[in-house]
Symmetry: C2
Subunit: 490 residues, 2 copies
């Protein structure tokens, strides 16, 4: 326990909330359900954005920007879409305030909009309305666009990063000449997300398809990456949707093919959000604070001098100066904390809380011996090493830490993925050893719904690499050809 953070074994939910706030990632704002992302949290999000943005560009996508507001009537155009989103949205009805004469600021009833505007919960409708003007021929396809934006969904129960009324995200919206191309795009972006999750967030994910019940409102097929948090609950970390021709039909977007035939365009959309910040915290952190994978850590190495006099500090600083320069030359993000207002112990706790992957301490004895003390955040192990060759050693250590954090999460997930063959076994597992449960299901929405109501567990996905296997549904006993992945989820 550190700085007033409760232990995660005691109260995981409270631990997460404490940690997000104490580590300066985010806090609740004065607006119900909306958060303030603080500078330290935002700097991690910026790193995520930069990496993802480059991945999108490397796969041929361009960024653009579409309006925050969506005319209410647009929602009615795609039937299942309105059901999915209309229930939880911010509605703009007026465009002016006025003084009521008694010093109160009130809504000016004379400034009522003819048609209400919805603050976008997602942008398919406004974007496909725009694409109508951009697409006439096969030569205009594929259209590969991404948007970085804020969106609003009026959530009743909110949690920092995981479920907030406003959140930041990216939403890709692509248009294609054939279903095959659109499906290939949907799958490609799922792989991009999985690559990002595993190689940057150090978060092992299961790639799979959602069942019909859990599909995006308006999609024919929803792909997802699912991760397991340290409390054994699952978290959906990204989705990629094959939208078929639904939005093209709703907004009348047609193209002339090479052969001169007129047809509706095929669509995809895909997104990840600031929810990934929540996943990052929940997957790796401990009771001392954040554990950040080095590739996303704003500061990768912090150097703390241990000194008894200004003279000693000056001597240490001379050594650190050379070390810092050599680290920076290798693009390693290093900070030297030579404040004399705080003791080393205070600094150590602070950088543990903030999840800095590697701490280097140099004191008087190190000066004499040509050594330094290294402390890893992930394993909390320390070693005293020679200053000679230190830069290369640090570089290797950062790589090792990145791998170790991933491996630890992978081991945890493997240990907490179990097969259940009866409904009793299934329910007992959910309560006693939470995690992913691989079980047979008869393929019907009704069974899925009943399991959800009775156990709060949902089908997270049908894994892409699933092996076929004859079995009987845990609830109905009806025949099944494959297991699906259940869990209680965020």
């Amino acid at each position: 326990m550190s700085k007033g953070i409760i232990s995660k074994d005691e109260d995981y939910s409270q631990w997460f909330n404490d940690l997000v706030i104490k580590a300066d990632l985010a806090e609740h704002s004065a607006v119900r359900g909306c958060m303030v992302i603080k500078p330290y949290g935002y700097s991690i999000w910026e790193k995520m954005q930069a990496v993802l943005d480059q991945m999108f560009k490397d796969t041929g996508h361009s960024n653009a920007y579409f309006p925050l507001f969506i005319p209410k009537s647009f929602f009615s155009k795609e039937a299942s879409h309105v059901d999915g989103f209309a229930k939880e949205c911010a509605v703009v009805t007026h465009y002016r305030l006025k003084n009521d004469g008694n010093g109160n600021i009130i809504v000016d009833e004379d400034a009522k909009l003819e048609e209400e505007l919805i603050v976008r919960p997602t942008s398919e409708t406004i974007i496909w309305n725009t694409y109508k003007g951009w697409i006439q021929s096969y030569r205009d396809l594929p259209l590969l666009i991404n948007q970085w934006a804020n969106v609003v969904r009026w959530e009743m129960r909110t949690r920092l990063f995981l479920r907030t009324t406003e959140f930041l995200w990216q939403e890709g919206h692509t248009a294609h000449a054939t279903a095959e191309e659109a499906i290939a795009e949907t799958e490609q972006m799922l792989h991009v997300y999985a690559d990002f999750a595993e190689n940057w967030l150090a978060l092992p994910v299961i790639k799979g398809r959602k069942t019909a019940n859990e599909r995006f409102a308006g999609a024919l097929d929803t792909y997802c990456i699912e991760a397991l948090m340290q409390d054994g609950k699952a978290l959906q970390a990204g989705t990629s949707h094959f939208l078929g021709q639904n939005f093209a039909k709703a907004f009348d977007v047609k193209f002339t093919s090479k052969e001169g035939k007129l047809d509706h365009v095929w669509a995809t959309s895909w997104g990840v959000s600031t929810r990934l910040m929540g996943a990052l915290v929940m997957a790796h952190s401990d009771d001392s604070g954040l554990v950040l994978p080095p590739k996303l850590a704003p500061i990768q190495v912090v150097i703390v001098p241990i000194f008894r006099s200004d003279e000693e500090l000056a001597q240490i600083s001379a050594v650190v100066d050379g070390l810092s320069k050599a680290l920076k030359a290798k693009n390693i993000r290093v900070k030297y904390d030579n404040r004399d207002t705080q003791r080393p112990g205070f600094k150590f706790a602070e950088y543990e809380l903030k999840g800095i992957p590697l701490r280097v301490a140099i004191g008087g004895r190190d000066l004499a011996n040509g050594t330094a003390e290294l402390a890893r955040r992930d394993t909390k192990t320390k070693e005293t090493v020679q200053q000679e060759g230190l830069v290369d050693h640090i570089e290797q250590l950062l790589e090792e830490i990145q791998k170790n954090i991933f491996q630890k999460a992978l081991t945890f997930r493997n240990e907490n993925t179990r097969e259940a063959n009866t409904y009793d076994e299934f329910k007992k597992m959910l309560d006693d050893t939470p995690g992913f449960i691989s079980a047979h299901w008869d393929g019907t929405p009704e069974t899925e719904q009943r399991i959800k109501e009775e156990t709060k567990a949902t089908i997270r996905c049908i894994p892409l690499d699933n092996k076929l296997e004859d079995g009987a549904c845990i609830l109905s006993g009806k025949p099944s050809t494959q297991r699906v992945l259940f869990a209680r989820a965020y």
Copy 2:
């Protein structure tokens, strides 16, 4: 005239609108007053963002994110602020839609907010409400934060990029222990903006102070950079505000000084927006299309092959391959357009429209002679040069083009900045030779207002480097100690 763009001499306003649309920068959306920023336009905005963001970080600022919504009551807390912004804002009153039973989607009156939320027109209020929790002592200061965000101001008359209901911007919000520090910050950020405008946008700007009439609602002092467009109208390209203790008092943000005294915090805010895209277009472009400064051009060099056979194209491509690699090695952004579906003349017009600074054409004769034809977008001059040494030549040319575009705009501004000594002369200048007019003013809001009403000209700024000079106000004849800069403005 190109691709249906009207000549700017014929109708400057229409020329601007045509150009923004035809060059694929932006277009009007289905939502009144809101624009769609298209991929090509957005890629220029992204370059601006990246440069500015680095400049902010180099001056010690961090990014963060605050809510889109502001509780209505927050606006009432700073008296002049509410007057400035309450009249033009989007008001969220409900949080749910529902089906009325007849298949219509309507606002659910049961989901009315207790307190209306305003879509942020600017974020001083929500941010200072947050800062209250972040600032207790002088050790928490200065607090140097920037936010990249969308904002909404309900404008009655809108124009692409220049004045839109929703726009993208950055807003810096800093907190300081003393007035001096806050003023120094205000001035520093003005200089950052001027540096960016001149060295990246190639846009010469006048740094100055706004008069009381033109100040930001809630500021004690507003600094600005003002630029002159090709039609002789001025455009405010960025502002930096010294807010005194107004917002700290409104939101009760106090700090304990080193000496243990409790005092309100001093504030600044500063911003530039997608309006800069409008300035970029209006300042440099011509009847053939955009003219982009090389430092902000997404594509700096386009290479077009002129070929009569596949064999010839292959030979040209071999040469281009080496050239492209060498240019990329120098971080020059190059595109090779080897499409065989479009003729060279079509491509030339397209890249002129898009403002690509330099075009390289290589044909059969060039292969034989070891030459290439270079065409500059800014001067529309062509030269045939040896392929040997071409990379260095291109690198130098891009620098020269950047300088030339700035110099051309500077010469234009100098030629269109005039002194007026009588009101008649002033009014005649406004109509006959629009531009900046330097004239004496008696310093009163009343005179300024009357001039504005009678001539539509406003005081753009009191230049920072103004020389003192005795004179008589052009309207009132009262004594004045310095000239101020008037113009009709966007």
